[in-house]
Every structure is written in C-alpha cells, then in structure tokens.
Symmetry: C2
Subunit: 402 residues, 2 copies
Amino acid sequence: MAKRKAGEGYSRKHKVTVIGSGNWGSAISKIIGENTLAHPYLFEPEVKMWVYEEDYQVPSSHPKYSPSEHSKPQKLTALINSLHENVKYLPNIPLPPNVQATPDIRDAVHNATILIFNVPHQFVPNIIRQMKGAYLPYARAVSCIKGVDVSAEGISLFSDYIGKHLGIYCGALSGANIATEVAEEKFSETTVAYNPHGDLTPPPEDLAPVDHEILKHLFHRPYFHVRVISDVAGVSLGGALKNVVAIAAGFVDGLGWGDNAKAAIMRVGLMEMQKFGTKYFSETCRTETFTEESCGVADLITSCNGGRNHRCAKLSVEQGKTIEEVERETLNGQKLQGTSTAREVNQFLSARGEEHEFPLFTAVFNILEGKAKVMHPDFCYQRNNTDCNLQVEDLPGLIERD
Amino acid sequence: MAKRKAGEGYSRKHKVTVIGSGNWGSAISKIIGENTLAHPYLFEPEVKMWVYEEDYQVPSSHPKYSPSEHSKPQKLTALINSLHENVKYLPNIPLPPNVQATPDIRDAVHNATILIFNVPHQFVPNIIRQMKGAYLPYARAVSCIKGVDVSAEGISLFSDYIGKHLGIYCGALSGANIATEVAEEKFSETTVAYNPHGDLTPPPEDLAPVDHEILKHLFHRPYFHVRVISDVAGVSLGGALKNVVAIAAGFVDGLGWGDNAKAAIMRVGLMEMQKFGTKYFSETCRTETFTEESCGVADLITSCNGGRNHRCAKLSVEQGKTIEEVERETLNGQKLQGTSTAREVNQFLSARGEEHEFPLFTAVFNILEGKAKVMHPDFCYQRNNTDCNLQVEDLPGLIERD
C-alpha cells in the first residue's frame, strides 16, 4: 500500500499565524512563509504575523529608503507590508510577500488552525487575554519561547501555560538557533516537540490533524533541518537550563582554566540538565532529548561558545565585577536569562532540599549570590589559599567530592 | 560490615611503570608519581618512566640551566633524573622526585604490576618485542594511546593489540585532556575503561587484583577527575572518531557558516560516533560512553574548539589549500590523526557497503579525496551554483536528505 502524502484526503488547508515579530519571530515567519508556498496542498499561502505596533523611522542609509515615502516615522506593520522586510528587528532580510503583518491580535488569529508563539514570555498573559473568543477552539499551537517558568512551587512550561489558558494543545520548538544566522540561511538544526493529549476539541473532518509530519513540512527548510519528537518538557528545559551552564562556562573561560576544564563543565552541565529533566518530569522527559537533539547538546555548545550569558560571566571574572554590573554596562537594558533561571532553579531545588544533587547549578547560584567566589586556580588550588571560597575543587567538584 | 579500604588485606603493593615520556606521557607520569605517594598502602612510591633516549642540549635560557653542567648536550634520561623535569617535552613542569626515567624498556617493566602505555602508536610493536620475557605475566596494563587501528578488514583497538601481544589485559584512558593543561594542573576530567575478561594469569594472593577502585586511586587528582567505566571500545573509538568530526567542524568554521551550523555538525558527528561504536562493537559499546563521558562529548568539544585537526581544516578552507598542504606548512613534520582516521574509517565502511549510513564521515572523506568541494554557502546554496559539488545541503545533509 502506497504511503499517503501528508494532508492527502483533506479538502481544507491549514492556515498559519505567527504571533511575534522580533528577530526570531521574523526569522520563523520567513521560514513559515516559504513553506506554506512550498507545500500548497497542505497550507494556505498567506501567513499572518502579529506585530506589536510602533512607529519607526527608516534610516536614510537603508537600501530601501525612499525620500518621498520614508521622510517621517511610519507604522512598523505598514513598513513590513510594503517593504517585505522587518526593517527594525530583522533588517536586510527579505520576507516572502505572503507574510502579512498585522497589529491586531484578534485579526491575526482569526481562522488560523496553527498558531506559532514567538514573543518575549512576559507578553504572553496579555496576548492570551486579548485573544479570548477570537481563535478557533480546534487550533493547535507551537511555542518558540525559550525557557520555563520555575519557582519554589514548581516548574511550568510556557507551552503548557499557553495550552491551558487557550484550552488548546501547544507544543514547543527549540534548538541551536541564533536568529540572524537562521535568517541569513546559514545551516542549522532545530527540535520541535509535539505530543497532544487530554481532552481537546477535534479538528473538523475536512482538516488534517496536526501531526509530526505536518509540523516537519511547516518548519523544515534546506537550511533549517527539523527533527520532530514528543518530549515537550525536555525541549523546553533544554532552552532554559543551558543558560545556567553557559554562565559556569563563562566563569571558567574568564578564569583562564583552559579548554579541558570548559569541556568538563559543559559535560557536567549537560548531565545536570538531563538529570533535572528526567527527575522532575519523569513521565515525559527522555535522556536522549538532552544528549542527542539540537535543543540539548547542540544548543548548549552554541550558548557556551559565544552566547550572551557566557560572555557576561566571562567579563565579570576578567573585570572583577558582578555579573549584574556587566549586564548593565553591556546589554543596553536587556536582561540575562541565565541569572534568573539559576535563581529560580535554586529556589525550586532548595524547597525540596535537593540542591546537593545539582552541584554545578548550585555553585553558579552561590557565585551569583556572592556566597562563593570565582578565583584563579593558580591562586586557589596550587597555592592552597584558604581565603578563597571557591577552590578548583569546588566549581567542578561539583561532580563528585572525593 | 564496614567497607574494606582499597588494597586492604594485601601485603604486596603495586609497582607502576609508565612507558612513554612525550608531553602526555610526562604529564601522566607526574599524576601517577603524585598518586603513588598519596596512596602508600596501595602503591610502591617509585614510578619508572621509560624514555626514548636521545641527547638534548638544555637551552641557556632555561631556569635550571647551569653553565658547569649543561654546556654540552646530555642524555635526556640523565637530565630528567637530575632536574626532575622533562626539559625537552614538558618544560617548566616539575615532576615528582619518585618518577625515575630509564632508557631501558626491560628495566622499566621489570617487576611492574601495572603498565601504562603512553607512546605514539607506531612505536608499540617494537616496544612489545623488546619487552619479551621481561615483564610479569600477571601484570595489567592501561593504554593512553589515542585512536584505533581501522582498515578494510576490521577495527583493532590499541589496548587489544597490547593485551594480545603481551598476553595480559589492557584497558584504556581517554578524555578531554590537552596535555599541557593537565600538566599545569588546570582542571580536567578523563575516562578510564577497564573490563578484564578471558584467560588471564591471576595475580599472586598477596597482591590486590587491579580493579576500578585501584585505577581511580592511580589516576584521580584534585585537578584531574576520573570516572572508571567498562566500555574499552567506546573510550578508544571516542578518541579516534572525534578527529574526523573536528575536521568537519573546521570546514564549517572556515566557511563562516556560523555557530548554529558548527553545533549541528558536532551533534551529527557525535551521533555517528555513537552509531559506529554500538553498531560495530555491539557487545561492549554503550551509547552513554559517547554522550555522557569525558572521552565522548567533552573530548569532541575540546577538539572542535581548537584542536589541530580543526585548525588545519579551517585554514585549508580559508586559504583554498588542501589539508595536506596546510599540514606540511604548519605542523612541522607532525601528522594529523583525523585525515588518516577518516580514510581508514571509509575503507572499513565501503568494504561493508555502509558508507551511506555515516554521511558526515563520508562527506569528510570525499572532501579530503577531492571528490567533493567545500564552498561557501552564499555561493553554493543561495545562488544555486551547480558548479559546486558540495552544496549547503550536503555537508550536513549528511543528516537526512529530504
């Protein structure tokens, strides 16, 4: 029996909307726009992209600047739709013309069968409130929002939050994906997790149920390779916890401990990520999500080799400042994810009396809190300086104390 | 019942010899020398280190240079024993005084119960020939020699070769261990694999059988964390195959494909390493050795971030030269492991018609052989240049073609 082509036998096509238009949201919209055109038997061509409306003045140096049209600030949505480019957040990258920006969230999600969330996480509650009654009850969602919401009470995945508050199912996408590189069509991989369960409104009979194959068609490009798995918790945790490890790797680089030590810290960090996932999400989380997928080991490698958490931690050691000082001085108002995640994870672990089971996460927290110091091993270890709280034994010791 | 301390109840102590005195051999001798002193109930203090004898002229700039003693070239062994430093291969690192250099392999192995091999692999057959009749039949060995011997016929581990030809058991040690960093006591981790089997001469009753605990005491230092496992094949393969992946990562860096692509290539490479091990050494090889141990993921990270295979591959793309040209121009007569391993692995795979199952290993081989070209994706992919053999799809496509 010949295999059925994805979507075959269904007369209706999926209509896809992207909620968000930062650099990552715009890069994902570009991919989605390309794929809805590439697979017309599965998807409606038009992709709506919800944009947080603002006025923007196109700089006169921009290649598409026209003195007659751009002499004054204009609405960002109007600029995106006329120039087919997000001139503010993803400049110089052409967007497919079928990507249509809209400032109206209710218009954006109207009739959409697949919703892609790609906004800063703090915007989610308000967006969801505004969506009430405007979206299809049988829509399905995928969250590209990195991270998880961890507190002493527990861990909540953004995908679960979205799904619960909309009453629909929401999966997750995460990977070693620096947005500008993806937008420039430099090769990368990503991981999509999707595993619908529970009491969901079924799609109408003429619409193909969203499954791994449809999601692969929606996200996969020649330059953006997608693997679809079922472990939503693992994919979401990978994107959050890697930032804590990147801070540790940044400390090690700042200390000049060398490549061996950095690789050791990354290995230990990867093991703690995996342990955290499989211990606290034991029903769904798989070891392989961390050790084998783009959202795990690959994203960790990218983050430890030049991500902003790594860079700020490295600078903090080199310049003898706190990481918050470096953050203020270099990030222009943006916030590090890794420091807040390290604190949230510690709250969660200490509420359970299980900090000692995650020595690397705990060491990072203690250093951030000023309870331990980062110092050079020449000083700490070799000269047995007892004035130093963090010995060479500590940071990685971490692994096993003996 | 209280746990017995390692070695408790045995009157005889282990006598340890290191065969080899390059920079890695000397760094390991330093560790072993420190540990035989630290655990006197288990080990004899004296550690013999076999040195390939040569004459060496101490440079007058060396801190230990004495005009009266060092005006002429001297025997390297004599210099090591008087200065307690391998002035030629590991300068400026003090060796413990209980490490005694000897040029005589038969003297070195005489009465040794544990033999550590740490020489370039091509020296092994000759050393083994010279050892005939001089070593204890119940001695046990550990090989620190990176790599494996792969050919169309099959794969032979250096540890198996040593074990078979000496008629003793030989384990392996491998990890993210740049020798000079280990010598400087910068933190690192390593993996020791040991799993004796078959018909071995048992040790005398007054000598503790070599086991994981004894090996941990022999190698573990505060700055050198050791995990002892049983997967000798995995440990050995990790140290060999990572060099092929490092070449691919070097190509990607040379092409300027960015961090996402590099992380993707490393992830795919790690998966191929794991598949190779578990497919061809299915009885002993474990997935976790690659994804969780220092000899796997951590060593791969180190090698892809600055190892010599990576560096030469990167330069070859940047300068438009073959990797052999770069090797000749920059390595001063030394040879890259990765290129020969890539060719041997290809011989092995093509003899079995299984090249297609390892697309990354095969792509590296094809590029080395001039059957495929490495080109910049701007040229290959985005402009659809059909003149280019290696498209952006290829190198990583590699992963799955669809």
